[in-house]
Amino acid sequence: MNLEIFRYAFMQRAFTAGFIISIVSSVIGVFVVLKGLSFAGVGISHAAFGGVALGYFLGINPTLSAIVFCLFVAAIIVYIQRNEKLKSDVPIGIIFAASMGLGAVLISLMKGYNVDLFGYLFGNILSVTHSDIVNIIFLSLIIIAIFLIIFKQLYYTTFDRQMAKVAGVNVVLIDTVFMMLIALTVVISIKVVGIILVSALLVTPAATIIPWAKNFKQLTFLTMITSLFSVITGLFLSYYLNIPSGGAIVLLTTLIFFVSFGFAYKK
């Protein structure tokens, strides 16, 4: 294969971003799947649309507004979920539509403002700027640091919530912090994978590996490999076929998922 593609600075940035995003979204995604939070991932990522639109509308950095907005949405979802009268998917369903609605209204109000909507929704490798890379690295370090701090409690809570409580874990706090880690992971992934498709990166690679993994380390490691393969190959396809990077990446992970699924259940 002709590797001219790496001569372009924008492709170098896209690959750097893709590499980091694969690692971070795998680490977080393993728990998203084990905790059954796939729909929360969808909800928070769609909320990012409202966050980005808010940034453009107020004339502030859309990454910053997306961060604040998504953290807020994550906290609200956990808060409403604590009300036992509603099933836990209900607040997600409400908040996620509301955020998209907010985004649609704000963007329509900004007449003549040229926002690359399609890029935000489905990923655009041309859109990754130098400051995006700085943001992604900075936020990834924060995500990983917090993740390492809460890891043991998150692990125990996910495996056996009741006994984690007995062991003294504040399970609601851990839930909230983890939901916020999902929010930050979504934000760093938007440029490459797109708002609509981010959640696939959180869910599909981990779901592909779960039936095969013998232990937790293996699960995390193989999820990273699957994710990296899909993202890197997806970026190549996006470049050569001129298709949205998010679409290519998601279709690849999904293909791998179904192959794995087929074998896993023939066992």
């Binding site: 043991k152 125990y156 007995v166 937790f216």
Partner: protein, 254 residues
């Protein structure tokens, strides 16, 4: 001062329904106490109050001289094995790793386990006779093996009190016998045990005291006293023998 558990005038209400009424109950160091009572009697609720998962509506519980929810309580001294095993079914974790979780109850979550911890884990595994399955996936185990693993996790806390909620449900009769052997040995080593069970037949042979609970604490005494009592029949209706019988049938199926 060798009362490990002191429960005085305890009431527990759940959404205005009184589930436990005026419970007064004491357990001394070294006892092996069985709790019996029909379904819905509040046995699980009582144990959850003991380990601090619930707090009393009124009255007082102390375990090792402290209220279970008190921040200064050394909760790792209580090894709890819940009735419903709520552990995640997809979680990739080995038996040894499950047992090792018990160490965090004592050490907290901000240090790593060291060589001494892993020794304690191995000791707990040996005590429960699960060496041969220690590397297996927890989710691939049978009900009885899971139960042993969860007790080993409780032992890895190095508890002074074991609180077991129907640990023999779904375990075959032969395994049950060796299970009681293990519990008796732990008890002889100085661990106080409280155990809820429907299996009155086996329980009466093994424990030093039985308490009959049905929303209230109806009576307590040595197994011989309890078996003689007419109250037991009242408590269960005519089901006492049926219940033990049923228990054994369940077992053969699993």
């Amino acid at each position: 001062m060798n009362k490990i558990i002191e429960i005085v005038n305890l009431y527990f209400r759940y959404k205005n329904i009184e589930i436990l009424t005026d419970i007064n109950f004491f357990v001394s160091k070294g006892e092996f106490v069985g709790i019996i009572g029909p379904n819905g009697a509040g046995k699980t609720t009582l144990l959850k109050l003991l380990v601090g998962l619930l707090s009393p509506s009124s009255g007082k519980i102390t375990v090792f001289g402290r209220e279970p929810q008190h921040p200064g309580m050394n909760k790792y001294l209580i090894g709890y094995v819940p009735q419903a095993n709520e552990a995640d079914k997809n979680f990739p974790i080995s038996v040894r790793e499950v047992v090792a979780l018990g160490r965090y109850h004592e050490k907290g979550f901000f240090t790593n386990l060291n060589a001494e911890d892993f020794e304690i884990v191995e000791t707990a595994i040996k005590k429960m006779n699960i060496e041969s399955i220690a590397d297996k996936q927890f989710n691939a185990l049978s009900g009885g093996q899971k139960q042993r693993t969860l007790i080993a996790r409780a032992l890895a806390q190095r508890p002074k009190l074991l609180v077991l909620d129907e640990p023999t449900a779904g375990i075959d009769v032969k395994t049950q016998a060796s299970f009681y052997e293990i519990l008796k040995r732990l008890n002889q080593e100085g661990i106080t045990i409280i155990m809820v069970s429907h299996d009155i037949g086996a329980l009466t042979k093994e424990v030093s005291r039985i308490a009959c609970l049905n929303r209230r604490l109806h009576m307590q005494g040595s197994p011989a006293e309890i078996m003689k009592s007419e109250q037991l029949k009242k408590l269960y209706g005519y089901d006492v023998l049926l219940l033990t019988h049923e228990g054994k049938e369940d077992v053969n199926e699993s």
